[in-house]
Symmetry: C2
């Protein structure tokens, strides 16, 4: 783990270094040559040119610096964010224009209102499906997994980038209640990964995995930062949702890139004449002198607690929808065939309900998400003053006022409808996040409470003379922060809210509400992102909860698996083979001897399999057969029949699967008596050459029948050969294993029996471990893996939803099998590429070896 390095790799690294040095020298030689040439060639212009060349050299050497990378990342992301926002705005305007232009006919209006989002969402779903199915969804759960040290390589490709950006633009342009925050975290990470690859072309820095992880962490911050123009909140939010342990030195990087990005993002708005100067995205204008009364605090606390329940309900509801669709097998099967039907249907339902002349009139259906948020954060009181008063954006606020319905009813309807709509919408397989819809719902809820308070205390609560009326907009701010905090289990939504509104006057109410909401939500449900991680079955480690101090008393010895699979330094291939047969761990412990049990290191399963296949592999087998054949020829000198070479070859292959059924190789009626040796060897050969393998039982009996019916003169020879080969295999298996060319991790992570669960959890999450050996004075006595740890932590508090399948897996998998054990293509890839170490050094040769 801490060094999956062998001599081999060392040699590789040295060669690489030498190569780099050489190329460096060559470059400098050529550079000086150029300089010389220039000096010789031209007299006057030469100096300028020399200067230019030197500057170029200097610049290229600077390209690798972190801050240049971060500035570029910030710049690119700001441009992407601005472009996406611009396109979304155009899309939404187009819908409004169509809807507005057809006001003569309600049916046509309805058609336009509904068709537009259906087409956009369907296109988005289809596009991402075809180009890169990894682009679907939020991206934060995956980034959390990646930053935990698991390599999901397909997640950071250019294809995914294109699919995510275009898919997101279309999805948000449709006006569905979807967010851009989560996808932006993913887009920024994609950007960082691609930029890193691009920069490495300049040869500036040795590309290093830990540096990449650091840059990804910074990228996550940039993603949130440029999405909301909230650099501080972005950094904090990204830390909270993606990290378990955070390196403070990355903090700086995050701030730098996020600030730059937010700055450019807002400057673009100024240059585009949208704004006069750099201000907040959803600027509020609450009074500064007396933002709220001390006696209003209970109302804010109520918002916090209610938001906590609401947030937990949202997460639960979202999971329920996924589970429901999965369970209905008939629907599932139908939807599976027509993959774009589900997005279209959901969009149709939602857009029908928000149709302004229809039900939408009771829930401010014609407002886009942004417009709704702006009106909700307004600092006037609706209930008291009425909407009719003069407003800057009178048109939008008008939407909340219905001639026959109270504004409270509108708000309640808005909250209830948007709640389930958002939970449903984020199950659509398009790139989309849930933060913004939840934020808007929270703001509406806060507004509701605020309006109620304003109606209840028309002259404010304050007693001493001056009248300070209640500001419902402040309640909206509190509600937005609290609900989004509850859903994502973060505290930094408070900071995001301040940065979004440009006012920090409500800091204490917001903090109190967010903390209460978190306390409630965390005790009820996992965060939305953790819920998705569990639904998608990404590898995860649950958090040690708030106040679970009973966990402090559990020790490793209570949870460890004592029956460890191990191999000894002096074992023979048979032992190797037996061990591979019985366990399913990805790595195996290497001990000195079975008596001493001194842990020497760990070896990956794949390494052992390749060792075994080398020993029993085709080249050596062929060699042996040839030797045997020449010996046979000399000894027997029979006339070779036309199929002997072929059949002997095939037989030799067959024999590989019959060594255990040696005595019964001619009794085709007993295929059940196969000894366990067989599948293991088969697996080895699967690894080696999957195409050559016949499906064993049938072919086996076929061969046997063939042996019985056909050539009797050869039968004896074959039998002899088979026996010989079997003997050879037995002999091979009894040889001692040569670990020389095997990659051994010489320092796997070790714990002792008395290490507490708490400390184990810390170490696992700090180092991104997958398993650790338990030793006692060098002796291996047990192993703890993520699974045991997870069990021990969740204990009785088994969170629901752990057993569900990936969300809408049916829409994503290309296969049709729906069995529980079937792993999706993605999963297999993840498993194969899954690496355990957090700050893992880059080893180019490893992936090559792994992909064998």
């Amino acid at each position: 783990m801490y060094g999956r390095y062998t001599q081999e790799l060392g040699v590789y690294a040295k060669e690489e270094a030498a190569r780099l040095r050489e190329s460096g020298q060559r470059k400098s030689i050529s550079a000086t040559r150029n300089l010389d040439l220039l000096e010789y060639n031209k007299g006057r212009c030469a100096k300028c040119r020399i200067c230019t060349v030197r500057c170029q050299k200097f610049l290229i050497s600077r390209v690798g610096e972190d801050w240049i990378f971060l500035i570029l990342l910030g710049l690119v992301m700001a441009l992407v964010s601005w472009a996406v926002d611009f396109c979304i705005a155009i899309c939404l305007q187009a819908q409004k224009w169509m809807y507005g232009g057809l006001d003569s006919n309600v049916f046509l209006q309805y058609l336009a209102w509904v068709t537009y989002p259906v087409v956009l969402i369907t296109f988005s779903a289809g596009f991402t499906q075809i180009l890169a199915p990894q682009a679907v969804g939020s991206g934060i759960p995956e980034m959390k997994t990646i930053l935990r040290g698991v390599v999901l390589k397909e997640y950071l490709t250019f294809k995914t980038f294109v699919a995510k950006v275009i898919g997101l633009t279309c999805a948000l342009g449709s006006g569905m209640p979807l967010g851009k925050e989560g996808p932006f975290v993913h887009i920024a990470s994609l950007c960082a990964a691609l930029l890193g690859k691009f920069m490495s072309l300049f040869g500036g820095i040795y590309e290093n995995e830990s540096r990449n992880i650091e840059m990804l962490a910074a990228a996550c911050a940039v993603g949130v930062g440029c999405c909301f123009a909230a650099p501080i909140g972005g950094v904090l939010f990204s830390i909270e949702v993606t990290s378990t342990f955070f390196a403070v030195r990355n903090y700086w990087r995050g701030f730098f890139a996020a600030t730059f990005s937010a700055f450019i993002f807002r400057v673009l708005a100024v240059w585009n004449k949208d704004e006069e100067t750099i201000t907040a995205l959803f600027k509020t204008r609450f009074r500064l002198d007396f933002p709220f009364d001390l006696q209003e605090l209970p109302a804010f606390a109520v918002i916090g607690i209610a938001s906590g329940f609401g947030g937990a309900l949202f997460v639960y509801f979202n999971r329920l929808i996924v589970q429901f669709i999965r369970k209905q097998k008939a629907i599932n099967r139908f939807l599976m065939k027509k993959r774009l039907l589900y997005p279209a249907l959901v969009t149709l339902l939602i857009s029908t309900l928000t149709f302004p002349p229809g039900f939408g009139q009771f829930m401010a259906g014609k407002l886009t998400q942004k417009e709704a948020l702006v009106t909700l954060l307004d600092n006037r009181t609706w209930a008291k003053q009425g909407i009719a008063e003069e407003f800057d954006y009178i048109g939008n606020s008008q939407a909340w006022k219905h001639p026959h319905v109270n504004v409270f009813v509108t708000l309640v309807l808005f909250i209830v409808m948007k709640f389930w709509m958002s939970a449903l919408a984020i199950t659509i397989p398009v790139p989309s996040g849930a933060f913004m819809p939840v934020f808007v719902i929270g703001a509406a809820f806060g507004r509701l409470v605020g309006e109620s308070m304003a109606a209840w205390f028309p002259d404010g609560i304050h007693m001493d003379g001056t009248i300070y009326s209640i500001v419902p907009g402040g309640y909206a701010v509190v509600g937005a922060a609290a609900l989004s905090g509850a859903v994502t289990h973060t505290v930094s939504t408070a900071v995001i809210v301040f940065e979004l509104t440009g006012q920090i006057s409500h800091i204490l109410p917001v903090m109190i509400a967010v903390i209460l909401a978190n306390a409630v939500a965390q005790s009820l449900q996992p965060s939305l992102y953790d819920s998705i991680i569990r639904i998608k079955k990404l590898p995860y480690l649950p958090e040690l909860g708030w106040g679970h101090h009973e966990k402090y008393n559990i020790r490793v010895e209570d949870i460890m698996v004592r029956d460890v699979r191990y191999i000894t330094l002096n074992c023979c291939y048979r032992d190797l083979h037996n061990v591979l047969l019985t366990g399913h761990l990805k790595t195996l412990a290497l001990v000195e001897t079975a008596e001493s049990m001194i842990l020497l290191g760990s070896i990956e399963r794949a390494q052992l399999q390749s060792l075994l296949s080398q020993q029993l592999g085709r080249p050596r087998r062929m060699e042996y057969i040839k030797e045997q054949a020449t010996a046979d020829k000399k000894r027997l000198s029979v006339i070779s029949n036309p199929c002997s070479e072929d059949s002997s070859h095939r037989a030799s292959q067959e024999v590989r699967f019959q060594i255990s059924t040696e005595e019964s190789s001619f009794s085709p009626t007993r295929p059940a008596s196969q000894k366990p040796l067989k599948p293991a060897l088969k697996r080895v050969s699967v690894v080696e050459r999957p195409t050559e393998l016949p499906t064993s039982p049938h072919d086996n009996s076929g061969m046997a029948l063939k042996n019985l019916f056909c050539a009797s003169p050869d039968a004896e020879g074959l039998e002899v050969r088979e026996r010989r080969i079997a003997e050879w295999e037995e002999k091979q298996l009894d040889e001692q294993v040569n670990f020389n060319n095997c990659k051994i991790d010489p320092a796997p992570f070790q714990l002792v029996e008395r290490t507490s669960l708490h400390k184990t959890h810390t170490i696992f999450s700090l180092l991104g471990l997958d398993h650790a050996y338990v030793t006692s004075i060098g002796r291996l006595i047990g192993v703890v893996s993520l699974k045991e740890l997870r069990k021990a932590i969740e204990g009785s508090v088994t969170v629901k939803g752990v057993k569900v399948r990936p969300p809408l897996a049916s829409f994503r998998d290309s296969g049709t099998s729906s069995s529980e054990t079937e792993a999706t293509e993605l999963h297999k890839l993840w498993d194969r590429h899954k690496s355990i170490s957090l700050p893992q050094d880059h080893m180019p040769s490893e992936s090559d070896e792994k992909s064998q």
Copy 2:
């Protein structure tokens, strides 16, 4: 490291668990008994009582919960903060009152102005010196060290708490340019530690070291949070200054406690009628619509860069002062004798210069720190409008306007004078921080730039019609954040500034300035806290700097020490003794055999020393002597002379120091020929019984002389005995070591040769390691300690100041020696208690053993 546990400890833990269980059962039995009794005794009232008892039980069980702890911590700290502020305000008012009352006589005024702070500072210095010298200074460097895993136990005692609170109140009440932030971090940590001890009396939770560390991290956040009423900034600032890697699960704790604390702190102000409602501490009233122009950004950037240089200069200047005082040996010796003279002199100098009718009139000398900050953040322009206009706090702002001197000159003088005064003042050995003075200087600098801009562009920069004049207060905010960020190397000062002023409108300028200031300052100097850590020689690990990507290519094999001191499992005591003699590492590697070199674990030096002293210790020696004596008696049957028993005893002790000088034990003229075996054995005996030891060389010759002059009949017997004892010792040394009762750390941290420096640094800081062994397939091949790592990281970039002595150590040490090697009392204690693991489980037996 990951388990310094032995069987012994396991047994201890089990017994402890059993004891806890038993007491729990007993409690529940007694509780049920009580219930029964109650039910039998009274009819009607019984139900109530049962209810009460149950509630009590429930409450007691809840006492251990984290959130109760955090609420209590927040509450206590808010009260402390408020009380300290209140006392400081009274002190400052008293000074003003005295100064104001004596306005008839300037000399008397001067006396009052000067005497008051001198008395307070001298009292503060004396009080902390006597009660707890650990309370001196900021506390943040020490907390950083503690959170890094080093145990500085004396730092978290009740005595220190009292000394710090009272010392701080007096120091700040004197009006010197000192801050309360750093000390408050320390006070909050003290509070948390004491509260933890107090809570553990209720027996709620098993007291666990990792939980304590988590609580300390939260406490640091509370400290900053309740000091500035800045919960978010507090959490972030405390993370930045104390942590290298931060557990996101603590984040939540920090926010909870800090918010509660800030809330109570501000509510106390409302109840005290200081404020109408909860608002920011230094509320600003900048306009919201157009906070700043895009074209003003270069000015903000200039503030940032200049602040970066200024911050680095401040840190350098502070260190220079400490070094200067140390170098002047004559001054040093004099000041050492009169310890309170230095504080008094510094205070006298500073208060003389700020005397308002004197030089103070040119630098707003009569304003307290708080008043100065409030005026600096004011949103009117001084230069254009003049001070004379109507103000809320006209009196204070007046201080900046001198009838004959321009306001710019006043500002420049203020900045320059305060700069060196603050750097000087924080070297006074009283509890004090540097954040607030630096913050004020930064605000003044920002104001200066702002006023210049306002004078340059009287009508603002904006072109399109509307005139938006420049707000110098905004520049002050930016300057304050930038300079304090530069000095402390943090970005979160930005957040603190927003929370302090209650406005977030200048977010982008502030962020840009803070980031630029950090970039400049970090490339020039360590942060103030790191500088103090180095000056105080606390164990530290330098950060991997911003963009030092050449570090990515260094491997462990390049920096490791290959000549590792180790002991083998089958070694004899002589080997042990030799190893102890040659190395000075705190732990030694235990390998299987010298040939295999398989690492089995590590043993602490103290453990080995006690093993050795057990083997050669007094009980066994006495036993042997007695045996010999009885044997001798039987054999020789000479008349016992009155001093024989005593002298033989004494001789036997002597022999322990002469075994190596066997041949020359009767030649007192050759004390120089002592072999190296001697000191080691001496050391062992020092550990065992320091009081019994005679100072060897003198006593040695004395004994020898005695042997020569006195009883000649005994001389032969003594010689025989000595030889025998020497033989016995030799035999003992040749015995194999029995490691059974020795605490072995069975899983010391291991790296491999190819682990990169970057990864090594990550692991060292993540786990708070002190050293790690380098292994290759189980074989020990090297060791890397913090020292090597530090060297490798600092490389050519050796930061100045690493070699300086503790600041004003002369004032703190009780000893008079000033040699470089001399460790202060504190240091020795730290070294002894220094433990390596970050999430270390609590082991009560260990400290007992260590303190032997």
